[in-house]
């Protein structure tokens, strides 16, 4: 591991949170991390998850703080702490109530996926047979998220829903954690056309380090990952590229069933237990960012460009995205 740097950002983590995970963020020089608060939780249990974060913010105030605004992100940098940006991978927490978008925004949620694998009230996820695109409510929610300054995340969206959301949103959107389909085939990965559409509107692509998103899974080398990043930069522009590790550190394997199946299926009854794949040895936890820095340099990124990918781009994107539209947000 090299010397920690300030100002790096992880565009998505879902760890089994502990003081250790926060200490490792500090050791890694992460100034901000977008974390997943809910997958298949409706509104009420989502509030319980937010309450748990509120207590964490008080208990570990020396390491972390809520990341809700540009000012918070800058305060994290100046106080050597990590701004935690709360996000939802699924729109289930807003149920069918447009008013809950503002309620969850007020409680600190700053990122929300419109769909998580399955069809939702707003659009369609990548695992359905057919994606019929944005729904009527989906368009309303996008307008409300634009107004409030809540980032639209399309990581688990179907291709059509993703393209329609990019077009419908008045503000840039994000794919916080994914890899290019040209590198690892599959509908969960991002097509070149979608990458271009995202970047043309100022959107961000966070590159995932979850083994199922990597070309050779857990055995993928740092060099291969960083070469892929260089190709992605050629498509979206280096200023649209970040890291969204999808790190699920210290999670018990049982959580995988919750992430994939929630309560909408009983598939668990008739399949072998699921298990997390091992992380690549060069990205075991947040401190792997130091390896990414070295790898990006070796893949030809300049020092300045590597810094952009490792943090500056997300910093710039989130600072603008969190500004409410009525306060002159982009």
């Amino acid at each position: 591991m090299t010397t920690p740097r300030a100002g790096w950002v992880d565009g998505l983590q879902f760890c089994n949170w502990s003081r250790t995970t926060f200490e490792q963020m500090r050791e890694a020089g992460l100034s901000a991390v977008h974390v997943t608060v809910a997958y298949h939780e409706a509104f009420r249990p989502t509030v319980d998850r937010i309450v748990a974060w509120n207590w964490r913010f008080r208990e570990h105030a020396d390491l972390i703080l809520p990341g809700r605004s540009a000012a918070d992100l800058m305060r994290a940098l100046s106080s050597n702490r990590t701004a935690i940006i709360l996000g939802l991978q699924n729109p289930l927490p807003i149920e069918d109530d447009l008013g809950l978008v503002a309620v969850l925004h007020e409680l600190g949620i700053r990122v929300m996926q419109l769909t998580y694998n399955n069809q939702s009230l707003l659009g369609c996820g990548w695992q359905e047979a057919e994606d019929s695109g944005l729904t009527r409510m989906g368009r309303e929610v996008i307008r409300e998220m634009n107004r409030l300054g809540m980032v639209i995340d399309l990581s688990h969206a179907g291709e059509r829903t993703a393209r329609e959301a990019i077009a419908a949103s008045a503000r840039p959107v994000a794919i916080t954690h994914a890899t290019p389909a040209s590198w690892r085939e599959g509908k969960r990965q991002v097509s070149e056309a979608l990458m271009r559409a995202l970047a043309e509107r100022g959107g961000m692509l966070g590159l995932s380090l979850y083994p199922h998103h990597l070309r050779d899974g857990s055995a993928t080398t740092l060099a291969a990952f960083c070469e892929m990043a260089a190709r992605a930069a050629e498509i979206v522009g280096v200023q649209r590229l970040g890291i969204g590790s999808d790190l699920c550190q210290d999670q018990p394997d049982e959580i995988l069933a919750w992430m994939r199946e929630g309560k909408w299926t009983r598939a668990a009854a008739s399949r072998p237990p699921l298990a997390f794949p091992p992380q690549p040895e060069w990205f075991q936890d947040s401190r792997g960012f130091a390896n990414l820095a070295e790898g990006l340099r070796a893949a030809g990124f300049s020092v300045a460009d590597a810094e952009q990918v490792l943090g500056t781009n997300w910093q710039r994107f989130f600072r603008a995205a969190f500004r409410p539209a009525f306060e002159g947000g982009e």
Copy 2:
């Protein structure tokens, strides 16, 4: 009706809200009104009530705005609008979760009663046979409300719970809507000892105009009410006195059963229907404040003292009370 004055405050209303009720607040010169969001609603339905207020704030932004801070109260004055202060008459919305106090504070709740008539998780209401005082959770919640800047309201508390809460709170508390027991006998009214204890710690007494709190009910005269106010001022000090009308304008009679009985009893099945008593003719709606101004003067209040009772006291109290303790709140 005399010319409307700016800066008056109503310490409690629970109307059937409409553009008309807000227009009447403006006509009355009310710069702030504390409104009841929930009686017997648990957390989830309370959020629905808050969402309804969020839409009202957007729809009637020319008349009202959320009153959450000293800055909001001053903005209301400078923009000729009414700051709406959201409050709960019952602690049921926090269920048994200390963390929900901060969640509801974040959603805009600035006042909460510890008990509503019945025994609660925090203490005891005035209608139980025996009041065993503040509970363990009650003391935790008071500490959290003190920290956040949420006003403790004891209007429906039992005498012992009220006195223990005044003693336990590090910051002044309020009885937002009540009358002195020396004027109309009954446990719902406030004893002289409690009035003194409240005022000694800087607390506020809001005088109610609900007929069941008035000496002669609906027939009570303006002069009798204002003479009572003058006696109350002698006990608590004029600077601790305000108005909390308990106005339930345009409510259907059925709402009375909800207020009194919620879902905790089936008494409704075996009693005649309840009905709201008629308001005194001199206080039919918010515009009755003009009559109060005249009545207070006639009862011997100076112009300056009448202004204090009609608004300045609540303004001063709420501005200080809403400041979070960690930002140097009293």
